[in-house]
Every structure is written in structure tokens, then in C-alpha cells.
Symmetry: C2
Subunit: 284 residues, 2 copies
């Protein structure tokens, strides 16, 4: 076994967003700068949703302004709507991410819209981004289980993935938002999604709530996925998903992948340093 | 990742059966004796089908009589019918194996019977074996692809597995007889079979014809399988399946599993020695 596997670092956004302590901008900048040196190609570090909703992300523009941009690294921002998109652009985001749910219950709770409505909202973002060649990543949440609706049908995930891909997302990140997926349910979901989106355009985004994130990464690897989201220190979760906590830890995924013989391009010592920094930020 | 994974050595039967050279009994005995020392718990070394059909197996009784039986090792024999079963018992087989196809085309070519007819033939074997507590393993061939019928439906494999398991087979070995399975097709098949047979009672039997055996083992591992068939030296194939050659090599599987952190209980040096011996037997 060999080959390259990329870890997309989402700790500064998905991770810190969900910690209780309000992290000062300077600390976020220090974390992103350390991550930039660790060898990531993509770091999600900002979120231009309404600061009212997610207080942690209020300083997103300041973070993007404060970081030392490393060559070859794309700094990404989550944008729920055109307002967020414009703010992200103004702040200098290199790529943006839009998000939809595979379950109606979660969509309602998270963005107060049906899945179809939430996707409609992205349309202008994707159109605008296409005009300036700005890469847009699509997140799908609750790809196996939803805290409100329970089991999520693989066909439903495939339908949302198909739409996001057709609209121009260059990659679809499949999120097990509440960490309840199993290798079986993840495999079923992936087999359905692979029917509509090339596997080279898929990423796995697993939370370790039930301790199965690595097992779910393994089955995803076996089915051809080569991109995984993770957060240094295993920070985060989702404020809108009861019981959802803990992105799978970047340092654990990186060590696992290297042990399997994959190349991540990461400096594991720096990744571990970043993990320690992230964990310290948790408590302040 | 950790835990135990068992390799069932099928080289002396599935492997040598399909080599062109008629292997003398003494050579087979030497190979089995070496394998016994290498740490396998199960070695398939005999086949009581009509010697007319598979000349290589004519000496099966002599092999079972000639080997040095190691403690804790079960020596298995393939038996297509009651006559074979009785011969296997008389020769001192510790366990027997019955075989069915998941595809009608292969069943017709291999045993000149429909799948249903072939399963009916096993009924008396399984009944007789139950009375004397003799373990019976069930093989299913063509679990993803058939040289005659093409793609094989996962539901068809599950139906055959369900029947064999209900009839008393303690384990079902799922065979990609022509080595055309992919991680996707293997995953689909396994997800269907796992609905009817506990994963702890399933084994994977992959041929490396297309170079995908290890990838197929990986996806099987990710979905919970912990038993795999392999043949030292990568010998064999199937005389009734055009283009089918090469069981996955035991030494390659063992090295791969150990690298992944699994314990096989095998002495890899002895396995390699057996592989060299098996390869030499090929050419005489």
C-alpha cells in the first residue's frame, strides 16, 4: 500500500468554533501559523456565518488578516450565504466552503431551511466564485446518522452530493457529524455517493464520538478516498448536533496513515506541537 | 488497529490442484509438514472429488496418511458428495469443506448442476458431519464475478451463504474465483452477506488475477472480516474458470497483516520457506 493521502486541517474552524471558551484572535493566528509550517495544503480557519450564531468565529476576518500566509497553502472560510461570501472574499480567503445537510431534521435545526432551500442559497455563491475561479468545497453533514431523523439513507446523501458537485463544488466532504457512523454504514453511503461523484472528489469528515473515526477512515481508504478532514487536538463538535463532539484528531489520523504506508506530507512533530497548542487553547 | 487475523492455508489443495505438473505425494507431504510448523490452525490439504476430474488430488488419502499431524492444526479436505465425505473421513480429515457457486453458469460448468441441486447434494454430508461433530466449512465461488454469467448480484451470494450457514457450515468462505472483484464490488457483496451470516463466520478467499487481492482484503478487514484464505507461493487458480489463476500468496497476506498491526500467529520465516518450496514444486 502506498500513495498520498491528504489531511485537510479544520481545527481552527470546525474545532475551535465548538469549544466553550472564546479563543482570542492572537491565539488562533498562532495556531494557524504553526499549522502552516506543518505541511498542510488546506487549512480551514474562518467562518463567515453571523457572529450572533457562532460567537467563536467573530474574529474570522482578523484571523485571516493576522496569519502569515505560507506558499502553497489555501486558507479556507465557511460561508453560508452571499453576505458571508463577500466578507470572506474581502478578508482574503483562498477558498470557501458551503454546507448542506443530508437530513431534513438537521438542516432545519442548523440553518432553519429545508435541504433544497439551503442548496438554493448556495447557487449565487457558486456562480460568483466560478467567475473569479475561487475554489468552493461542499460539506454534507449527517451522512449516516442524524440526531433528529436517525438513520440517513445513502441515496439521500448521494442526491445532495450530486447537486453540490453539479453546482461546481470541486470536492464534497462527507461528514459524520455526530460520530455514529460504522464501517458498514459508511461503506453503504460511500458506495451510493461514488455512483454520482468521482471518488477523487470526495473527502471523509469523521467525528470520533463513538471511537469509530479511524475505523471509518479505514473503510473509506479501502473504497478509494484519499482526503480526510481532521482537527488538531481532536477539538470541536457541532453546537447544533446534540452529542456531537470531537473531530477526529489530526495527529491520530496522520500517525495512522503513515503507519499504513501512506504519505501525508506532514511534519508529525509540528502536528503534535499544534495539537498541544490547540488543547491548551481549550482551557485558556 | 490490532487483533488477531487468521490465514487459512489452502495451498496444498486449492493451489497445487491447479498446477500443471503432477506433484508427487512425498512433495505434498513435505509442504504440509512445513506449513504445520509455520503456525497455521487450518490447512486444507486434500480433495476427495473424483480423481478423474482433478488428477492432482488423486493422492489425497496418501497425503493425509503421510503427514506429521501437529497439535492444534486441523487438516481439511474438500468433499463434493457423500462418497467424497466417506473417503475423507476414512483418510482422517479433521474437517471438510463443501462448495457451491453464487452463479448458475459456474455451477453448471464446475459441478454440472444448478446451485440449488449442488446445495441439495450437501444436505446428507452436513447431516452426517453434525452427528460426529465434524466441522464443515462452506465455500462459495464467484462471489462478485463469474466467467460465464458476468456480474454476480450480492443478493444471490447472500442467499447461498444463508443456506449453507443454516445447513450447519460453521464458516462461509467467500471466493472471488476469477480475481475480478474490486473493493467496491467486494464491499457491496459483504454488506449483503453480513445481513444473513455473522461477520465472525465469514472468510475472504481472493485470487490475485488482477492484482487486487490485497485491496479486497483491506476492504474486508475494514468491514470486520478476520479470516482469509491464501496459498503459499500464490499457487493455483481454478481449472474450470477460464482466466482464473493465482490464489493470493500467503506470505504476502501475512506480511501485509503484520504491517497493519494484526497478529497472525505465523512464523513468517517458515511461511517464506514454504512459499519457496511450493514454487519449486510447480516446476519440479
Amino acid at each position: 500500500m502506498a500513495g498520498r493521502v491528504e489531511i485537510v486541517e479544520v481545527g481552527p474552524r470546525d474545532g475551535l468554533q465548538n469549544e466553550k471558551r472564546a479563543i482570542p484572535v492572537t491565539e488562533k493566528v498562532a495556531l494557524v501559523d504553526l499549522l502552516s509550517r506543518a505541511g498542510f495544503s488546506r487549512i480551514e480557519c474562518a467562518s463567515f456565518v453571523s457572529p450572533k450564531w457562532v460567537p467563536q468565529m467573530a474574529g474570522s476576518a482578523e484571523v485571516l488578516a493576522g496569519i502569515k500566509r505560507a506558499e502553497g497553502v489555501r486558507y479556507a472560510a465557511l460561508t453560508p450565504n452571499m453576505r458571508g461570501y463577500e466578507d470572506a472574499l474581502a478578508a482574503g480567503a483562498d477558498e470557501i466552503a458551503v454546507f448542506a445537510s443530508a437530513s431534513e431534521g438537521f438542516s432545519k435545526a442548523n440553518v432553519n431551511a429545508t435541504i433544497a432551500e439551503s442548496i438554493e442559497r448556495f447557487a449565487p455563491i457558486l456562480k460568483a466564485a466560478r467567475h473569479i475561479d475561487l475554489p468552493v468545497r461542499g460539506y454534507i453533514s449527517c451522512v449516516t446518522d442524524c440526531p433528529y431523523d436517525g438513520h440517513v439513507e445513502p441515496g439521500q446523501v448521494a442526491a445532495v452530493a450530486d447537486k453540490l458537485f453539479a453546482m461546481g463544488c470541486y470536492e464534497i466532504s462527507l461528514g459524520d457529524t455526530i460520530g455514529q457512523g460504522t464501517p458498514d454504514s459508511v461503506a453503504k453511503m460511500l458506495l451510493a455517493v461514488k455512483n454520482v461523484v468521482p471518488v477523487s472528489r470526495l473527502a471523509g469528515h469523521f467525528h470520533d464520538t463513538a471511537g469509530r473515526a479511524i475505523a471509518n477512515i479505514d473503510v473509506s481508504l479501502a473504497l478509494g478516498l484519499r482526503v480526510f478532514d481532521a482537527a488538531v487536538g481532536g477539538l470541536g463538535g457541532c453546537p447544533y448536533a446534540p452529542g456531537a463532539k470531537g473531530n477526529v484528531a489530526t495527529e491520530a489520523v496522520a500517525a495512522h496513515l503513515e503507519r499504513l504506508g501512506y504519505h501525508t506530507g506532514l511534519d508529525l512533530a509540528l502536528v503534535n506541537e499544534a495539537a498541544a497548542m490547540a488543547k491548551a487553547m481549550r482551557t485558556g
